[in-house]
Symmetry: D2
Subunit: 352 residues, 4 copies
């Protein structure tokens, strides 16, 4: 195989769409459908999503940043702020979308393992009632987190209870919510029970490009139709977003995809355990392996393999991120693990 043919570990969105998604798109392409979501397919898939999540409403949007911004947009006036981890995708990887589109400030806090806690959230509440400070109103967490860890249901409950007691709304960035549910072996409703609004990522789970915003209580949902249009996220041929989620819901494909990609990440972590020069930066819970390697190892690997360097550490080490996807095969993983092992320094030969 050439480098181009090797499986990418760069991102779960380097994968294409699951074949069932394409089949569903083809099936949805029969006849006319009223635009903007006023069609039976959209209505049906929306109802199924609401049932899965125990939600009041669900709305399709084009991408993950949009899901985050529109989800938070249901909760915030511009002088209200979002408490989130410094490492949040919202903070570091969305080009300031939340600030620009919502006008809201992000109150960021360093969060070990990418996870907020009630104590970390509480540390950001000092300015309440002070008109010189943006007013904390929403908490944003990612499940799974940006570093591949997963909040336990107990951790979620603790955050959720803290939020409710503190007049804070909880938004969950679920770009990889399926991977979290798979890891926790729980339902989507189990996760959603702790949130006010969450996103459910289709794209990284095998869709071609579709995300859903899930709203747990009716009053929060009322603004969405208008906000979605004004913020340029209302698909005219909506049935094609709905069809993708329909395919992922059918027979629990979303869960199978997530379980598989999680398993591939675990297999990769196992495959490189004990390699000299390597250690895990974070526990492997969802579909990411964050591995620390020496920079010369990284350079050697990058000749042939696609993955991201996440951070440069001291002592000539780099944190790398290796993502798996629904279509990563055991053979892909084993080949990559072998390549990683091959970068390990030879043990020093004893001198006789």
């Amino acid at each position: 195989v050439t480098s181009a043919q090797r499986k990418s570990f760069g991102s779960d969105n380097h994968a294409g769409a699951h074949p069932a998604v394409l089949t569903a798109l083809t099936a949805a392409n029969i006849g006319d459908a009223t635009a903007y979501g006023d069609d039976p397919l959209t209505e049906g898939v929306t109802a199924r999503l609401c049932a899965e999540f125990g939600a009041a409403a669900a709305f399709f949007v084009f991408g993950g940043t949009a899901a985050n911004v529109l989800g938070l947009g249901l909760m915030l006036r511009p002088f209200e702020a979002v408490i989130c981890a410094e490492s949040a995708h919202l903070n570091g990887d969305e080009c300031g979308a939340a600030e620009r589109v919502l006008g809201s400030k992000l109150l960021t806090v360093p969060a070990p393992g990418g996870k907020l806690t009630p104590a970390l959230i509480a540390s950001q509440l000092a300015g309440r009632g002070n008109s010189h400070r943006a007013q904390p109103r929403a908490v944003e967490i990612a499940q799974a987190t940006e570093v591949g860890t997963v909040y336990t249901l107990d951790e979620l409950r603790a955050i959720s209870e803290f939020c409710r007691a503190s007049e804070l709304l909880l938004y969950v960035d679920g770009a990889r919510l399926a991977n979290a549910a798979a890891y926790l072996d729980c339902t989507l409703a189990d996760l959603a029970a702790h949130a006010d609004v969450l996103s459910f990522g289709g794209t990284k789970n095998g869709a071609m490009g579709a995300e859903a915003v899930i709203v747990m209580n009716e009053p929060l949902a009322a603004a969405m139709p208008f906000q979605r249009m004004q913020l340029m996220q209302l698909a005219s041929k909506m049935r094609f977003l709905a069809a993708q989620f329909g395919a992922l819901l059918d027979g629990g494909l979303w869960l199978a995809n997530a379980r598989h990609s999680n398993a591939m990440a675990a297999r990769l972590a196992d495959g490189v355990a004990g390699v000299p020069g390597f250690r895990l930066a974070h526990p492997v819970e969802a579909n990411a392996v964050f591995g620390v390697l020496r920079r010369d190892q990284v350079r050697a690997l990058q000749q042939d393999w696609n993955f991201h360097v996440w951070a440069e550490e001291a002592a000539e080490e780099s944190v790398t991120r290796w993502m798996t996807a629904f279509d990563t095969t055991p053979a892909d993983v084993d080949a990559f693990a072998a390549a990683i092992r091959a970068t390990a320094p030879l043990p020093r030969q004893p001198v006789f």
Copy 2:
């Protein structure tokens, strides 16, 4: 046929995707591709679009409102305004997206037939240099217009020359640009030559959901990558937007689709010409027929057919809009025309 099976004349986005588009999506779904457009398919289709338009750059976005807002966003600071027709989609059908996202004011002017002219544009320039007025900086026209008319190349040239002489940039909403090119029997480059930035609509031309922003000169394009991300229009699996445009470009499918839908609108107009109670509200140039009927005729038709009432007129009349699409058949048109004819009042019987 039941009502549900009758072809919709409600909008060209009630149609599904052209089969070639689905084929292209399937073909694009092989192997991995780097996300966010850094893949060969995206690069290739982008280059082909630039060649077709004689453009400096092209960018895919999810929808038509986004194309308009991001296209104008390359031209405007928030205190700068857009001159557009009162009837512009931008003004009346995008939920205030431009105002919210760009912060810019729209300076609207009643425009007969949906068309701006140099004189109409000039009427909006009085506030220049006056700090109490939003400063006119961009002109927005739609080609084809919101009422199905098409600017001639001479009309475009006159507007374009006026804009250049007046330090105004010209943005063309090309959600139906293909239909305009088909009507004028000109190239996309012929149309683009008069614009600074334009959109090229894929969705209404047979795509599943994809639009392109075409930028005619390099400096205007520099901000787009960042703006597109910040405004939530950067597709992660970008290849699937590119593939749709690839299919439309192959063998001139975009033009064939546009010619066909234009022809179906012309056939419909012919089919109802002379029907008592009916008259055209606008000349039929692209793929829309704006027909005036008496309200009782409209009510009767709406029992079985899907179309929009555009405006209520005096004298118990309504302006209706009938859109055709790439997949509207002559039989569809003839059935609808027959139904329209059937609403005509019986001629008064002579009394013996």
Copy 3:
């Protein structure tokens, strides 16, 4: 007198501050005061304003545009729109502040005499519930209007009742509210009873620079402290804004000032009545005279006098605006009226 010494009829903000305002500023300048409004003077004047208006809360801001934007900001989410007269200051003279700062669209309607009516407001409600349209939520009227007319209490009541029945909130731009109260011979509370939020202009009434936002019910006011800070309208040395309003409230100075300036406008209108070539463009109710003159008359007058040309009419005529202020004297008016009369064409001499 030279041109520079002649009284300006250009605007009521060409006048300086009333001496009592300067006296109040000097009196307020004793000792320290906690910043940002947490001082006894601010609290006291705020309470007096609330009492005058029968209001729940009052907030000082720096200028009239800010009062309008912040007042409307208490009512609107960005996808919600403001219905206002095309001639509204908000629409034509604030450089798009509402659009930029609030993100909201203005739904403008031509309004004879600058006045909205329930029917005109109703004409803008068609898009309700349609996600493609910005949602009408607030109505904005100016009292007095931009063309110097005044809504009667009956007209206000009709608008107010229509708004309440239609789930619309009513904002009153009261940059010249004092002049309206003086004209109607009613209290500020009489005017405020019909509004949800209004501004009360100090600057044009004799202040140095201070406006108040008056909020009629408590829940609407809750966001103001944060919004005012975020939108850069929170004065640190707030006592000096409060002191200005204190002076205007003392002994009803606001009303005396308004009555006087209204009287001067009436005197001016009387003084030019019947002058050949002159006619009123609008009835003279507050402190403005909108007079139509031939353009050669205007040119001659502008040699020596400061006033605005409001609009150019056909037939070589211009609409001019002549504003009076608290410090305009009868002698000022009479001199200006004489100058206007002097521009009149000589009556054609009878030929013997």
Copy 4:
């Protein structure tokens, strides 16, 4: 004296206006003046400010947050970010004004002593060219800083040179620029030479309420008239902002005021040096003393004196902020210092 009569050390904006400012306001209140700054007084004072700073243009605004937002607004598109200290007023005390009004993200960095350095700035540049990151474009520093320290001219030069070499523009929040100039014994032009845009704070220097935005090169200034109006900072009776700066410029009053308040802070620091339980949190350079005290000392002092607790430290200590103003007297300082000394624990008596 009662607590209310004791000089506040809470903020330099607890002071009133310098008598010369009131005199200037009274002098400016003669006759009419064209509104919005088109008057000789505004033109004259603006020219004097430009001369003092070696600047291309100067603009008056109402407050310090506005000066910061409008100054940065000349430099930034919404996808461009500001690098600033975590402790910046812009970040922590302006209710998210920059984010809301400009749409821009703040890239904050912990800055010892409130001061950025080229290395700290450089640490925020990693995302350049990456469309997922807001693009660093401006650097914001405060001179004096939020904790009363002052950048030396060498430190300023190093930052300025780094910015120019890195395509970054430098904005200086000069709410207390006068205090910095006084401390450094340099001219305003010496400070301004290193900046692209800066604010010059009048309010904390003895004005009633006026700030200036100083723009060092012409092209950056072009947008200001429109931006200032759209962002609600254009005073109608502008002469009264200009008059305040005129008074501060006359005879170098700004410098005398700053020198005096700096001297009072130094006197206070001297007066409490060596008090048991007390230490300085930051060097005393401008007109602030940041003193650490035990919490019981703070509680005792707050019975009678007005000052802010800046931060709570471990070990039962608090960082307090004591500000001096142009009108703080040596007697005020000595009384406060005595009160602080009186909170010190009695030395433990030796036991015989």
